[in-house]
Symmetry: C2
Subunit: 293 residues, 2 copies
């Protein structure tokens, strides 16, 4: 398989959808790209930038002549998208998505378009920025990044292979895991850190002298809280979509922080040093891994 | 006042002490700089780099001919330093420090060298990196950064003015606040974020499939956890020194995270969006403030 495709429909032409469009156009993997979204200004910018060839606000219209549909809408908009695709998708066309949680998207497909399950290959490119919109997209966003596919029992193996090949052509490294495992892993590495960053900034902002407090935040604070500048609606949707994995993990982390507060209060230097040394070693190993060629 | 000084003794020639030495030498504020520390290799490197003129391993020897002593040792080593200074400090010489918590350092001075309280002006430059040692130091580290002084009731006003002038000559912006307020502010903006970063990385590292989990951490995770690569001994000392402010603040934050876990579990999208929007607005304002000329 892994042939190139004729026509790509990108539903949601923002950072994620726009970057896939740019990358597939750059490699010549598609002939034509149709964008679909709600905001006219963003879609017109996408045409001007050459990211898409034309656009519509109607998902069914975008999909009805497509060979591949890429769903890059917020998680809260996935079900409505599947409802539109259920009627409109051509018989041979494939669907994949870029959602940050997979269980909810699969549930949406199963509820709204069960007949499409053989051709919907759930995916998640591990890439992102705090900026949104097609203006932030780039052809190189997925270069050297990981993409996780979570193939379904119903999936046609050729569909999985086609989607894998698409991401590889963007320079991404593709791996597969189960939907449930994906949602656990991402809760730990992405969703939990975002909750801590949002929570910390919100806590500080609600303190009495919050203006003064932010004055004395050093460089480490800026890095630590960068992800708190992410899109609030997107993150509300991610929390709701992945609540089964995220809520208990966040509660367990709160317990860890309570225990740490206790160790600090008790001046337990041995325990504190053990935690900080384990963390530093793990973090240094992680960075070494990133830098390995 | 604000005259330049003849001889500076830097106790602890690492990032913080080494950078002050470099900056004061660059501005010609001091004639001679004596370094003091335990590790010979680091001190010899400091001489080779021109950061200090000579060194000793003995605090009393370093201080006994100094006009100004800068204490840049870990917080856990402050009391012993004051004990050494109590005997050795010349009558007209001043002391200041760079410790990240101020209450414990003042308590150490009060316990070990109460006769020096008029001439010890506690200070804290809000600057740091994850790297340590004189090799990481630079003359420009304090350029445009904030330095907090927490003058004591016992302080000679001329001593405070002299220390203020020293930091201003390094390009820093100097403000004053009480010891207690400093420790609250720093618990919020620096110590708490470090606890979250250390805690998060440690929690992930103790998960069953921790190697796999770190594989899927995206760019945001790298920024978010950068401060978890900081020196574990230094951070143990900071936690112990500032435990009165930090322990309750961390426990309160754990409660916030429990409440957030509950909101996520209950799928309370309204509450989640409100938190994330407040946090994003506060974080964006903070960055705007940093970028303001």
């Amino acid at each position: 398989m892994s042939a190139r495709l004729g026509r790509l429909a990108v539903i949601g032409v923002g950072l994620i959808g726009g970057s896939l469009a740019r990358a597939l156009r750059a490699t010549g993997w598609v002939d034509e790209i149709i964008g679909c979204g709600r905001g006219r200004a963003n879609l017109e910018q996408a045409v001007e930038l050459g990211v898409i060839d034309r656009y519509t606000h109607d998902i069914a219209e975008a999909a009805c002549t497509a060979d591949l549909v890429f769903l890059a809408v917020p998680l809260g908009a996935m079900r409505a998208a599947f409802e539109a695709l259920n009627e409109a998708l051509p018989a041979a066309a494939l669907i994949t998505d870029g959602g940050s949680a997979k269980g909810s998207v699969v549930a949406d497909c199963r509820a709204a378009a069960p007949g499409l399950l053989d051709r919907f290959v759930p995916g998640h490119p591990i890439a992102g920025k705090e900026r949104n919109g097609v203006g932030a997209s780039s052809a190189g966003l997925y270069e050297g990044r990981r993409v996780i596919l979570t193939p379904l029992a119903e999936n046609d193996p050729n569909a999985v292979e086609q989607v894998r090949s698409m991401w590889q052509s963007c320079g991404a490294s593709v791996t597969e895991m189960s939907v449930e495992h994906h949602d656990e892993v991402l809760a730990a590495t992405s969703h939990l850190p975002h909750m801590l960053a949002f929570g910390l900034v919100d806590t500080l902002a609600r303190m009495k002298e919050n203006d003064e407090i932010f004055l004395y935040a050093a460089g480490g604070f800026r890095d630590f809280t960068r992800i708190a500048s992410s899109n609030p609606v997107m993150w509300r949707d991610i929390c709701l979509a992945n609540r089964d994995a995220l809520s208990p993990m966040l509660a367990a982390f709160a317990e860890e922080m309570n225990a740490l507060a206790h160790s600090i209060g008790e001046a337990d230097g041995v325990e504190l040093l053990a935690i900080f040394e384990r963390a530093k070693a793990a973090r240094d190993r992680y960075v070494e891994g990133l830098n390995r060629p």
